[in-house]
Symmetry: C2
Subunit: 453 residues, 2 copies
Amino acid sequence: MPRRIVIVGNGSAGASIAFSARKNDRTAEITVLERFPYPTYSKCALPFVIEGTIDSFQTITVFSHEFYRSQKINLINGATVTRVVPDEKKVIYKDAGGEKALAYDALALTLGGWPRVPKMPGCDLDGVFTLRTIGDGERILAAVRNAKRAVVNGASFIGLEVAEAFVRRGLETTIVVRSRMLRTMIDADFSRELQEHMIRHNCKVVQGKTVDAVVGAGGKVKAAVVGGEEIPTDLVAMCTGVAPVIDIAKEAGVEIGSTGGMVVDRTMRTRVPDIYTGGDCAEDRFGLMGFPFISLLGTVATRQGVVAGMNMVGVHAYAPRFYNSAIMKLFGLQIGSVGLTTDLAQEHGLKPESIKVMHSTLPHYYPGGKPIAVKLLAHPETRKLVGAQVMAEETVPETINTLALAIERGMTAAELSMADFCYAPPCADIWAPAAVAAQGLDRKFAAKARRKA
Amino acid sequence: MPRRIVIVGNGSAGASIAFSARKNDRTAEITVLERFPYPTYSKCALPFVIEGTIDSFQTITVFSHEFYRSQKINLINGATVTRVVPDEKKVIYKDAGGEKALAYDALALTLGGWPRVPKMPGCDLDGVFTLRTIGDGERILAAVRNAKRAVVNGASFIGLEVAEAFVRRGLETTIVVRSRMLRTMIDADFSRELQEHMIRHNCKVVQGKTVDAVVGAGGKVKAAVVGGEEIPTDLVAMCTGVAPVIDIAKEAGVEIGSTGGMVVDRTMRTRVPDIYTGGDCAEDRFGLMGFPFISLLGTVATRQGVVAGMNMVGVHAYAPRFYNSAIMKLFGLQIGSVGLTTDLAQEHGLKPESIKVMHSTLPHYYPGGKPIAVKLLAHPETRKLVGAQVMAEETVPETINTLALAIERGMTAAELSMADFCYAPPCADIWAPAAVAAQGLDRKFAAKARRKA
């Protein structure tokens, strides 16, 4: 009898599981239950459709309904799972046809994350948005066309990308930043530079505050209340983080960890037999130091999904460790990060040694090089790299990838400083910026050792 | 008494040694003997001055005479070393003031490479050039201004860059390629694509032949003879490789290896006590398989120099292994390579498994992505990566650096395929091109294993 694989959710993790299961089991019956009407699309691309850089929400489809069919995967849209019965190994869901039960041999609950919006007066006014689905994107895009002003509450990835989209759409845009920009991704010095960059590109920024209430007139947003003051606006985007969706998992007995996500082992299985997960609702462990962590990154969800899908059809595999390699681009500036930030390290009891250097993406004698900032963090005792942040107009994504391997492979600052990186005048300087930073960090270690001696 | 350090040659290796020695020994007496009148400059940048992208030969200075002075390093230009007397630990050189002797505690013979020009009729005609020094560059630049046609003999790094420079200067340019373009750097499939690219950018290409003779009139070049046919031309650039300069080293008893370079140990010492070397005249060992190899790369020379300089002042260090990470840009196309090529592997008895994939530098749904070709080579048994070649208009240098670390750290195709690479729609696809290639290679290995089973 063919194996029955059921997956709840068709996001990055769910879709990866489905196609990985199919690749590893030609005969399995694979069903994906998805409450929204969409095929699998890139959530990360939503801000760029609002911005207008990508022409439509159809364009960002990653796996079409046709592709699901071609892979003989039964994607059922409009199906809301109400209950999992692990003892009977079945899932109860509702769709247009009423309540149905579906038996599984292996089940994946990739329920994703959901915008965490602080309860506040005016939250349900017309013009208050979150951005998680194509539907949200369509509503924001419609609102943008008739708006003159916008307030973005929160300076996470999505908050900053949405702010840029609003500015590019001609809206007078204010970002309300509670602590600092991209706090979970970069250190305070990079946050400051990024904030100056956003201000130079016509974002207004209110720092150290948050939107406490939204006031309206005739059911429509009129202003955001920030620290007692009203900022007049036509729309408010709530970008204050994402919470893992765990409701039906918890009811089914899945263990929930300290981060609020479902606890998994290295095969992406939850604590309940035959129930797997991955993505924004899965509590995995950070590749360094091993503390519980939800990455919220599509890359991590996708790789977790590949592994979960293999294990669900009996092909044993372990999820690769993740180091939170992340990149974004704001008004032409690429900001990348991998590994621990200083804050995250210190939260977990590690005080890293660090250095920040300014270099150029090309040699000084070749025209057109762009300034590049590289920050490296290393373990104070082992000197192994534990984190990196890079900011420049170009070369950042691949530099982050290089540094991700350096961190994953446990390289020290000294080792990275002498790595065999390439050079040619029109392409790269004789010492890569990452190597220059590593040299500086190694010198810092040497000076420290001399002071001790 | 301060240590006496003498370095012959102020190129990448020699200069690196000098500054590394100074960094590690504040009191050493450091003397650099250099036969040419220049400070340390970027040899790799010469074609771009000829091209006009860099405005002058002064611009490509890397370490000025002032910088040498500030570091209390005595750079003596116009000094030709005629003899080394290891038993007396002294160097005999000639400069404007006549013959002089200089005593050393440690000596570096960084004699570099010199263009290897096949003996042929017409070789000394006015209009026949090699490109190795600023003087060569100045002569070529002067000739270019009065020329209409050029022939480049050889399709190495320098040959192709010079050809591009000639085309951009408006010369009708023919490249004569004996075997194939960049044969030591890339595989035949990449060579073919590169050749088509060069032809699309107005280079004429004659393949499978070489310049056999140059004919002239009134002492000036009139034509290059290629396979019995005359190609009319105003100048001929001989770019047929570089030979290590070893004359005075050999006379001093330094062991010369199978490559023609000076044999060194991991400290960059030759077989003669207290004599070190590095760069284009040093026979080091390839980071993979360990066969004798001269890399001819400025990056390798520089890193060897850092290490030689340390050892020369008594700070023990080993040269890092090199994998020949190389990058170049021709008419907007970046071509990168690291590790073994298929030819080089096979020369040394290894038949690598390989894959070539086409991908995009951005996700399909985000505008502006460029096609990128990634070829990966892996050991057929261990599945560890042993080589990589990448070609695209962007992202190649840092992708090569990433792959250099993957190779250096002994990663398998499977490991690379799941590495924590970053993603964002305007920056990079959810699976990096290198990871996509690694997936394909891993599938190839799996299919092979299934066929065997």
